[in-house]
Symmetry: C2
Subunit: 439 residues, 2 copies
């Protein structure tokens, strides 16, 4: 009996070993191949759509995730996750294939929807967004999953006050896993269109610039000088072994679900662009781009996700500062600095930075790791009142051109307010528009 | 005949190969072992001195070189070079042993001196400095050398206006090579004593600080904010793969022969120390030290020499900016950046930096590689007139504490002048004092 058990175990162990040997997390893009699930050919798209027997209207989160997956931002993901992937993420922060992945990307449906629409494995669903055919989903797996397990595994807490936990708990009861195909690529609207660099394009742009090193900056902020120097300091670390003109900063602004009091997306992208346009970064050392994604505030786990996405965009480095992608007090100040030492090499180097702040003694922006004077942290609430007041701050706190662009964006896009309010939530311009399509 | 030639060549080639295989230029200290030719025991020293049959008074350059060699700054050198070393340096920038070395360290004597004193190989000479027994020199080689070849090989020119060439041409006709022993260690006088860190001590200090990375800054300047940020930027590059508190800047001030118009040595060391004392560098990220050395202005060749000396002091990185150790227009602006790619790995990483300057648009010090505004270089002559005027500049040009220390040093050490003048040259305090010794 004992002997038999051993005999049964041996081949499984061998298989696992073989599977693990195939996984090289350092490949760029993640998994080795940039996913492309975009159909540009309208006729082909219509043909695909016509195969679907079921139609579903999807919400914004899923639309953004479909676009991000289809263009390869989330490579190697080519669709919503199956149960095995989610289980593996919860257990060991990898996909079932063994590649590191930290956040479930799932398509939730209610029992009722599945039953009433008669959705079953093998089906293709036509997903509609903004009332237009948008994408197809091949149903490969229908499953339920313990949401508390999912929440605790990803967020380290089951506290519903945590916005990521709340989002998890709001998922409907069932999940549908399977490959997606974007059959009706949306138009990215101004002012975001200029900053739309799906991975294949960002990689092209890096080549055009001659960048051998690209260091990613994750942001949902209008840049004060502390942010500017965070980027400049990280650039110094990234260009260590190349010529200075072979390294640049990729600002990647997360554009997705907004909360009241957030900076409006338009102010974020345009103010970052202003830093380059007005010479605070030299031409060819800086570019601004967007990522369609609803922040999960998963702290260290989201840092891993960000690293993978920016690797897919072609980045060689990713900066992580204080409280990266955190919220409240759920994570240690530098939890995102710790996690990378505990996982396999992702093929994108973490640039771990302390804080940059204004120092009255130095009379300039200084680095926590170097300056011996009394720290003067940039206060979010002071900056907020500066911007609400509309009184231009000194250029050592916020660049005047950044301030001007924020004011302009508030007028043009924010109904007079640089911060998200009810009116903006209800009436803002769409970031993307799905063009009409007859199927 | 042809066959015989081949047969004669083969063993020599094998020998060369074996010798080359032993040379690992990346060892730290250079050559693998820190040279220590210092006798602290007075009785032992006297016994050694009494063996010498010949006495010679030496000049400042040789005294400084003896101290630097004896304490291991110049490892693996343990004495003045023999002909084979100088020939090898001129031919291929290595010692006869194969280790990279770029500048001849030679002890010159006239034919007359050698004849009248009856100096011959096998002798020991007692070298006296400040009229005291100072060191012994074991005569292993007496030779002459083509000074033009020496000059052109090291300086790339035979133009006597080049101060290094001039120094070479002023050497007397013969050279004496052989091991030195410092039998009467000099006292380093205030204010330099606090900054006296021979390699064994600097290495200890790095350990005490917990530095895994130390980046060297070569200087003969009072630091303006551009220098400060040159160091800060280089620090960013050096600490890439460690924690920020495991990396520091070693300021190494060259103290040696002065030219009129140079900053006085006291102002240099004290003003650099002021940056640390007043928090422009955090405690534990910055230390100031001196190197006894007469600048050769050999540009790229001197950069290699500096790299080796700072490696011996325990540094892992060395910053090289524009026109490192250059003079006039003899070298390309970034010749010191080029040379390291053409020689074996010296085991100390070059941090190659462009310029830092004040930018009125940024309102701070910015980096040539990042700032897109019109460059505003720090002007040496403007700084000079600021200091001669004694009117405190803005803190974004020179730190007020640096300015104050320079003024103080001018009063205390420079006869009212922060720059070297005739009075300073004639009456300055000695940097080192050789204590009395009876032999």
């Amino acid at each position: 009996m004992a002997k038999k058990k051993v005999a049964r175990k041996a081949p499984a162990a061998r298989t696992r070993k073989r599977a693990a040997a195939k996984v090289d997390n350092s490949l760029s893009p993640h998994g080795g191949k940039l996913v492309n699930r975009v159909i540009e050919d309208r006729e082909k798209a219509k043909k695909l759509a016509s195969k679907a027997k079921v139609e579903l209207l999807i919400r914004d989160q899923h639309a953004r995730e479909i676009v991000s997956m289809a263009y390869g931002f989330f490579s190697p993901l080519d669709g919503f996750m199956k149960e095995a992937d989610v289980a593996s993420i919860c257990k060991k922060m990898t996909l079932a294939s063994g590649y590191v992945w930290s956040i479930p990307i799932v398509f939730d449906l209610s029992d009722d929807e599945i039953r009433s629409l008669g959705i079953k494995e093998g089906d293709t669903i036509l997903l509609k967004y903004q009332n237009q055919p948008f994408a197809t989903l091949d149903v490969e797996d229908i499953y339920s999953f313990d949401k508390k397990l999912m929440a605790v595994s990803v967020y380290g807490t089951d506290d519903e006050k945590h916005p990521g936990v709340k989002r998890t708990y709001q998922y409907k009861d069932k999940f549908v896993g399977g490959r997606i195909t974007l059959i009706n690529p949306p138009r990215i609207n101004p002012p975001f269109d200029k900053f739309w660099y799906p991975p294949a394009k960002s990689r092209e742009k890096f080549k055009e610039f001659g960048w051998k090193r690209a260091v990613a900056h994750q942001t949902r902020n209008v840049p004060h000088t502390g942010h500017e120097w965070l980027m400049k300091g990280a650039w110094f670390e990234a260009q260590t072994d190349v010529n200075p003109n072979e390294c640049g900063v990729l600002v990647n602004c997360v554009v997705g679900e907004k909360r009241k009091g957030d900076y409006i997306d338009e102010a974020i992208v345009l103010s970052h662009a202003a830093l380059g346009e007005h010479g605070y970064f030299k031409q060819g050392t800086h570019m601004v781009s967007i990522l369609l994604w609803d922040m999960r505030y998963a702290g260290p786990k989201e840092a891993v996700f960000h690293a993978i996405v920016r690797k897919n965009m072609g980045c060689t480095h990713h900066m992580f500062g204080r409280d990266h992608a955190g919220v409240g007090d759920y994570y240690d100040k530098y939890a995102a600095h710790e996690i990378f030492s505990k996982i396999p090499d992702l093929g994108i180097k973490s640039v771990l930075t302390l804080e940059w702040w204004y120092c009255p003694t130095c009379a300039e922006v200084t680095y926590e790791g170097l300056c011996g004077h009394k720290p003067q942290k940039f206060s979010g609430s002071v900056l907020r009142s500066i911007l609400l007041d509309g009184v231009k701050p000194t250029r050592l706190v916020m660049r005047p051109e950044v301030f001007d662009v924020v004011m302009m964006a508030a007028d043009k896009y924010g109904f007079g307010n640089p911060f998200v309010d009810d009116k903006y939530l209800a009436q803002r311009n769409e970031v993307m528009t799905v063009p009409p399509m007859e199927v």
